[in-house]
């Protein structure tokens, strides 16, 4: 069996033919993948937790510097946490946030109900990639029966980031969101995936 190669091509046939074929293969057009692939993949994964071996390896490889001042700052942080918890407990009803998907409105969109339990707020707005982070476009209404600020939006399938804007200044993320993403300005955006499958609560 002949298998001699020159420049990656077999020697026993006209090299010109094979070069042409290889050139044609190289320039074959590719199809663009559907835009929702990233969203669906990201909806199917969870952040990884470092295994014990990896944690041990990091501890062994990352140098630890003993600094008494660092201990002082840790102690101060712990005290602050206790203070915050105490204030939080005395604040009254616990703040909670929920986001739920409801029945499909039509073939392409689904209704997403955003709900934030924050009775002390005087105005809550929903800002996100679906309204270009524009305050005022999606003002939430207080629902006395739910004891929460509520807003329904019809959204097509896709991946969205959002947050709540409380009293026009405080940005609050959804603690029940599938994932949180650092927005680069010190806040966490919540991630919402609206899937193509019609169904119950899948997708968030």
């Amino acid at each position: 069996m002949k298998n001699e190669m020159k420049n990656g091509f077999p020697l026993d046939v006209p090299e010109e033919d094979l070069r042409r074929i290889a050139g044609m293969i190289a320039s074959l057009p590719d199809r663009e993948p559907p835009v929702e692939i990233i969203d669906f993949v990201m909806a199917g994964i969870k952040p990884k937790k470092m295994g014990r071996l990896r944690v041990l390896w990091r501890r062994l490889t990352v140098p630890v510097v003993f600094a008494p001042l660092r201990l002082a700052s840790v102690a101060a942080s712990v005290a602050l946490v206790f203070l915050a918890v105490a204030l939080f407990v005395n604040r009254g009803p616990e703040q909670s946030s929920t986001t739920s998907l409801q029945q499909a409105v039509n073939g392409n969109e689904r209704t997403v109900v955003f709900s934030l339990n924050m009775p002390g707020a005087s105005r809550v707005e929903l800002i996100g990639s679906f309204n270009r982070w524009k305050p005022g476009d999606s003002v939430m209404a207080w629902d006395d029966s739910r004891k929460a600020w509520v807003l329904s939006l019809d959204l097509p399938k896709g991946r969205y980031e959002y947050a709540y804007l409380v009293d026009g200044e405080k940005v609050v993320s959804d603690p029940n969101a599938l994932m949180l993403r650092d927005d680069g300005f010190g806040n966490k955006n919540s991630i919402l995936i609206v899937e193509r499958n019609n169904g119950h609560e899948a997708g968030i």
Binding site: N3, M5, I25, L28, I37, P47
Partner: protein, 182 residues
Amino acid sequence: MSSTDSTLVHEILAGDAEAYAILVKRYQKPIFNLMLRMTSCDEDAMDLTQETFVRAYEKLEQFKPCSPFFPWLYTIGMNLARDFQRKVRASRTAMESLSRDMDPLSDSAESLSGRLDADQVSQMLRKLPPDYRESLMLRFHEGLSVNELASALDISVSGAKMRIHRGLLKLRELLGEKNHEE
């Protein structure tokens, strides 16, 4: 400057799942096109593309950061596509009968005559057995080295050279037949 694949893998393993979106964006096109070639169906190609990336994420601890990411990902995709094809027995049978009918070294030294266009090449590539087709696509379309190709297809370097050799001959033969018919 964009992050390298190995930097991103490091960040993902440290708990930053969002970094994986960059890898998906970077490689979804070749994986989706691989699946289109393997299934000839948009819906199946999309499902298999997603599955490839999710499976790769689950196995990410097994990835060796010193080696290139794409061939490793491609291996996972190929294995999933093969599993899929095993389930679709009709297409597999067709491929095997085509493979049996063709003598890989029965080429003549005559030059290819007639025109050769992208549609013809694409059409004839689909008729090649998947191993040969993907060897040619990885080598000439994706620009992988023979070593990377061997790694992606989980074969030896000499085996990879053999696949390129035979793949080119088979494709040339198919294109010659096509031109002869016309």
